[in-house]
């Protein structure tokens, strides 16, 4: 558990730094790929609702601290989307590289709608057609494109986590899911 947490915290920090420095310099038409959303959605898909929500919260909180007008706004959006993505963990397959990409694209779409409502509509700017064409679709497409590559890297987490799980199970003496996500036990119940 501690190992996992450290790894995930490390990943969050790296993604945040890359997002605000490297990727803002790689922006196309003022659009930056949302690395933190890729991280949140993929971790939720790989490990489940719990991690998804927590990772989302951490990512959103970091964005709030530096660029948010109100603390907690991005944290709310990211943790909710992480939690929702966690439902897809039930159909997780470590060999599947297409579903998560669509999942990330969809999540990014929802996030941008949320952003539009919070930052444009509340200010009285309701020109959604312009926002869709100028910011939303480019951002979703750019994020999805980056996620094709990034998800492959993030999916290595799964093997890593499995190894940690196995090592721990060995030490504990046999129990297989003692500290796993609740989702796993839930899955077994459903079956």
């Amino acid at each position: 558990m501690i190992f996992k947490t450290i790894i995930i915290i490390f990943e969050i920090i790296i993604s945040y730094i890359l997002q605000v420095t490297v990727f803002t310099n790689l922006r196309l038409a003022d659009v930056v790929p949302d690395i933190l959303m890729i991280l949140t959605a993929s971790l939720a898909y790989i490990t489940g609702k719990k991690t998804g929500a927590l990772t989302g919260f951490a990512c959103g909180f970091l964005l709030d601290c530096t660029f948010g007008p109100l603390m907690g706004l991005f944290a709310l959006a990211y943790s909710t989307l992480g939690y929702i993505c966690g439902f897809a963990h039930k159909i997780y397959d470590s060999e599947d590289y297409t579903l998560p990409v669509f999942l990330i694209g969809g999540t990014e779409f929802l996030f941008n709608l949320f952003y539009f409502v919070c930052f444009y509509v509340l200010r009285g700017d309701i020109d959604i057609g312009y926002y869709l064409i100028r910011f939303l679709f480019p951002k979703v497409i750019y994020t999805t494109m980056v996620s094709v590559i990034l998800y492959r890297l993030l999916n290595l987490n799964f093997n890593l986590f499995e190894k940690i799980d196995a090592a721990k199970a060995k030490r504990r003496g046999g129990t297989t899911y003692d500290f796993n996500d609740f989702d796993l036990t839930e899955r077994k119940k459903i079956r």
Binding site: I17, V20, T21, F67, L70, M71, L76, R134
Partner: protein, 288 residues
């Protein structure tokens, strides 16, 4: 045994609802008391700034190396152009130098506030940009340690970039004038008519931002200079903002409006100058 285990087990629903509550709490607290959470923001900024600085340094190093490989011919051509320009500028400087003493004399005569020319300036490098807001808000690597406080004006290339909105130990956040939330009180250099320069992301795609509230009787035309005005309580007077084009009458028919081309190239901004002087508030003047 089994019952005990279940008690310890924290369900994802529980975690999620706890997080939701924290978020809503944060939103409410930061809305009602904006200053309460600023230590947290500052701490997070302090933690990330050294890393962002490092990455930016590496990034700019690499891009400089890449530039070395760019076409030699282009460089030679550019060099020729630049030497020509330098020669032209040299003669221009001579002329301007003569005019400067005259200008200074008239400035003193008019009591013009030249605080921004004399004030100390700090150069700062941009280390992070807001990934969601189309990069109109950014952070730089100088903060309270270098004597920077909120409401200080930011320049680049002789024009107004924006204003410092928040500072940490070694970082500060700058809101540019092209941001939708930005509104700067401006003045036409030639006619002394006042106006309001408003950021507009939509218009910025064509390289313009908005100028509003120009007097209906003001005789302003294309390419007139707009500088920061004396009536602004946050911006120092006399900083160049940009040049107007497309002057038209507002739909309300109460005043005129126009487009403004900022002098600053926001797309390729890498470093900025922060003026270490804050416009004194009106209350402060009353006390004096």
């Amino acid at each position: 045994m089994g019952r005990d285990r279940k008690k310890i087990n924290i369900t994802s629903k529980l975690i999620y609802s706890a997080l939701l509550m924290i978020c809503v709490g944060l939103i409410v607290v930061s809305y009602l008391f904006p200053d309460v959470l600023s230590p947290v923001r500052t701490a997070v900024g302090d933690f990330f700034t050294p890393m962002e600085k490092g990455i930016t340094a590496i990034g700019s190093g690499i891009s400089e190396k890449l530039k070395l490989f760019s076409d030699k011919k282009e460089l030679i051509e550019e060099n020729n152009k630049l030497t020509e320009e330098v020669n032209n500028l040299k003669t221009e400087i001579l002329e301007l130098g003569q005019q400067k003493s005259e200008v200074n004399f008239f400035r003193e005569l008019y009591g013009y506030d030249t605080i921004y020319q004399n004030a100390q300036k700090v150069a700062a490098r941009i280390i992070g940009r807001d990934p969601n807001g189309a990069c109109t808000v950014f952070t730089v690597d100088k903060g309270a340690d270098d004597g920077i406080t909120p409401d200080m004006n930011v320049l680049a290339g002789g024009g107004l970039v924006g204003i410092v909105t928040e500072t940490g130990k070694n970082w500060s956040k700058i809101r540019t004038i092209i941001n939708d939330d930005s509104a700067v009180s401006g003045r036409f250099q030639i006619t002394s008519d006042t106006c309001v320069v408003k950021g507009n992301k939509k218009r910025m795609d064509d390289g313009y931002i908005d100028v509003e509230m120009i007097n209906l009787n003001a005789e302003v035309y294309d390419n007139y200079e707009v500088v920061t005005s004396y009536i602004s309580d946050k911006y120092l007077p006399g900083i160049l903002i940009g040049y107007v084009t497309n002057v038209s009458i507002d739909p309300s028919e109460l005043n005129k409006r126009a487009y403004l081309t900022p002098v600053v190239d926001f797309e390729h901004l890498e470093a900025v100058l922060i003026i270490k002087a804050v416009r004194e508030s009106l209350e402060g003047l009353d006390e004096e």
